[in-house]
């Protein structure tokens, strides 16, 4: 690895000015679980590494009534897994966090790193997409808020400009009778990267047994994490029925555009999207009924 010059800015502003100064040759280091692997395998050779780890105040989970949820970009995945704020309405986030890698990685890995690394299989992306999350970026040109849906561009590519940092993840408030479930399907058991990730967030109209709102997001089956909009539309406003859920699962599968890779074939992935979407919607429904 190396050589590179190493910086530990104390503030976000300082980090931004370092990024501006060193441009493309610089890389942000958060938990390092993606970056260090890439540097070690000499896939990337940054000349400047800027560690955000010593910037105070980027590690938080704030629940703010009807304003929703805000998560600091440097919050670790283990932190999310355990956060008391994520034990009810936003449970899907801690649930996904618990499925990301193993404990030693989760203790280092950050949510900002997971999103900025923009792997199609990133486990934190589908739940945040399904919750209609957005990210707050800051750079020389100031701050901007980008819906997560628009943040991902391709494998490893995002709308982040070279002089920009992600500082926060924002999630709108969740209405009553909402449940969410994230399912990760691997090559085996829980370990390893997702072959398919499915997040479903369902808001229920309890009186009429109707899907008031449905959001479905998928990981590892397209160049970026995606929403399954046709399936969402199919369910929205409809009376809940097993047949309809099955149909939505099929449509979700059609919306995915997986490829063959070392973890699985496109055909298998499409099939697993169907199976896991069906399960995730039903799981989310059950939770929605209980809250």
């Amino acid at each position: 690895m190396g050589p590179f010059e190493y910086f530990e800015p104390a503030t976000v502003e300082e980090a931004v000015s370092l990024l501006k100064k060193y441009g493309e040759g610089a890389k942000i280091l958060a938990g390092g679980t993606d970056l260090v692997v890439m540097m070690r395998e000499r896939e990337i050779k940054p000349r400047y590494v800027i560690n955000l780890g010593r910037i105070a105040g980027l590690n938080y989970v704030h629940l703010d009534g009807d304003k929703g949820l805000r998560i600091g970009a440097l919050t670790t995945i283990a932190g999310l897994e355990r956060a008391p704020e994520l034990k009810s309405s936003y449970r899907i986030i801690s649930q996904a966090a618990a499925r990301l890698a193993t404990i030693a990685i989760r203790n280092m890995a950050t949510i900002g790193g997971n999103l900025c690394n923009a792997a199609p299989s990133a486990d934190m992306a589908p739940p945040l997409l399904a919750l209609k999350g957005a990210v707050k970026l800051t750079g020389t040109a100031g701050e901007r808020i980008v819906p997560l849906e628009e943040f991902f561009i391709g494998p490893g590519v995002t709308t982040l400009k070279p002089d920009e940092l992600m500082i926060e993840i924002q999630v709108p408030a969740v209405p009553a009778h909402t449940g969410g479930m994230y399912l990760k399907h691997g090559v085996k058991g829980a370990a390893g990267l997702a072959v398919v990730g499915v997040a479903a967030v369902v808001t229920l109209d309890i009186r009429d047994s109707v899907f008031e709102e449905v959001d479905i997001a998928l990981g590892a089956v397209a160049p970026t994490p995606i929403r399954a909009k046709r399936a969402e539309a199919l369910l929205k406003g409809q009376k809940i029925s097993d047949g309809l859920i099955e149909e939505a699962a099929r449509v979700t599968s059609d919306e995915s555009s997986p490829i063959d890779d070392v973890r699985g074939s496109a055909e298998y992935r499409r099939e697993m999207v169907r199976v896991r979407t069906w399960e995730a919607i039903r799981g989310a429904l059950k939770l929605a009924k209980s809250v």
């Binding site: 590179f4 190493y6 692997v37 590494v49 890698a101 193993t102 404990i103 030693a104």
Partner: protein, 167 residues
């Protein structure tokens, strides 16, 4: 390019001068001669290099040296006390949890983190917490047995003393 690095290592302040691109695993092994921490994959996938950083288990092959600056680190060498072995170490011996031994320091360190956080861990919880520690020799049967046995011992022993606690 070398920078000063200060670590609270196994309860002792240590100072070394290293380039910022050295990993914590390299610093421990090559600079400080603590060869108990092993590197088997170098990519965070196996747990052989696991150490405790501020009490939390991390893979030291992915930690850059300056990320550890000023922080507390516990390695396998810091686990036993002058009074004796840590209950996990004893249990690993008694229950035949050790074969080639290359994964074992990382196993024991991770098991310590698991039991520190969850002193009543069930077998399932232990298996989940340990799932990032790969071992090709054992089938984890006796390792799991050893951790469960150590758990009982640790509950009986007076907490807060010895065994690298609080380091």
């Amino acid at each position: 390019m070398k920078q000063r690095l200060e670590l609270k290592l196994n309860g002792e302040m240590r100072e070394v001068f290293v380039e910022p691109w050295r990993t914590l695993a390299e610093v421990l092994r090559d600079e400080l001669g603590l060869l108990g921490t092993k590197v088997s994959c170098g990519t965070g996938d196996c747990g052989a290099c696991n150490v405790l950083l501020e009490g939390k288990v991390v893979s030291s092959c992915l930690v850059l040296a300056p990320q550890a600056q000023g922080r507390e680190i516990l390695t396998i060498e810091g686990l036993a006390t002058p009074e004796g072995l840590h209950p996990l170490q004893e249990a690993f011996i008694e229950h035949f949890a050790v074969q080639c031994g290359y994964c074992i320091p990382g196993m024991i360190i991770t098991a310590k983190a698991c039991l520190d956080e969850n002193p009543d861990a069930t077998e399932d919880e232990v298996r989940l917490a340990m799932s990032g520690n790969l071992c090709r020799c054992t089938g984890y049967v006796k390792v799991t047995e050893a951790i469960m046995a150590a758990k009982e011992k640790m509950k009986k022993s007076v907490s807060g003393t010895g065994y690298g606690k609080g380091r």
